[in-house]
Symmetry: C2
Subunit: 189 residues, 2 copies
């Protein structure tokens, strides 16, 4: 089983090393990890961003599954590029798995970031817009898509000290993928 | 042609009215707009968020196209729920159109939000992560997906006074959809 390794990990200073560690974990379960930075793109080329897109889309089409890092990124929600990729894989009918190293709910993170205590009743942001508050880890479309097109979001009980480098929750997703990749037992019927 | 009307518009205080205006604009071009809030869900039900997801997914499967509002939402990027939906529709092979009422680039918005002037060389955020800087309106996966699976992101020259209520860029997307919905001219060959 080939697994597309999605996440804002590609923006980390040790992006290549994280990719190597993720691919090695996949390999230890008999799976193949495909990491966006495995595509070699000349970042000085005028159409570099198009080539990155094309490489990632080709990888997703080649993959059987996605394991996405949905740890909140520059705000209360996951990285939008990663979220796009979960949607694309769900639409293609591929297996969608994801983790977040932050187990808090979207509404709690919104409250923390906006330094406003949660009060009874609907939560409204400073633009007058409703804050989704179903106790879910992120927008309901993402969270329930995982349940329908794969398995529930994996989160640790407490955020790890190394929010971006800790791969415990990632490895739990790899185990889920490995279990699902097992050939179905033959039926005697 | 049925068009799924995606966007954080559903969180606005006048969410129902915006949906009505968008559907009316679609109708004026001979198209049918499907708005998430057209699905009636009992928000007091224990599984309300699952039902909202199911209603939205069914609408997307019924639709031929999506017009998504990618105006930045609670940070430098678009609403993740909307972005998930573009990915899902792209994976399903449907027509993907989108607009943002903010014409600035992701990198410029990041700089403005973090109150840091852009300097020469790579931009790094306060977590040490690289800020994507290709001059695009948002993450490259979204922007180039629109080009490949639909048409380029539509933006106004300047942000409108009413960032959430102005539907000029939305209407431009409706026109694009209407043009693409025309029956192809018969060929004499």
């Amino acid at each position: 089983m080939k697994i597309y390794l999605a996440g804002p990990d590609v923006f980390l200073p040790d992006a290549m090393e994280i990719g190597r560690r993720k691919a090695a974990l996949c390999a230890s379960y008999g799976l193949t990890g495909l990491y966006p930075l495995d595509n070699v793109v000349d970042l000085e080329a005028e159409d570099a961003s198009v080539r990155i897109f094309q490489g990632n889309e080709a990888m997703m089409r080649e993959a059987d599954a996605i394991i996405a890092n949905l740890t909140p990124f520059r705000g209360p929600s996951a990285d939008v590029g990663t979220v796009y990729e979960i949607g694309y894989m769900a639409g293609l009918g591929k297996l969608c798995l994801a983790y977040s190293n932050d187990p808090s709910s979207y509404a709690d993170r919104f409250a923390a970031l906006s330094a406003r205590p949660l009060t009874a009743g609907p939560i409204i942001d400073n633009q007058g817009m409703l804050v989704e508050d179903f106790g879910l880890g992120d927008n309901l479309m993402i969270i329930h898509a995982l349940e329908v097109h794969g398995r529930s979001l994996v989160t640790p009980r407490h955020p790890p000290t190394d929010l971006w480098g800790d791969l415990t929750a990632f490895e739990a997703c790899v185990r889920l993928a490995a279990d699902l990749a097992l050939p179905a037992p033959s039926r005697l019927s």
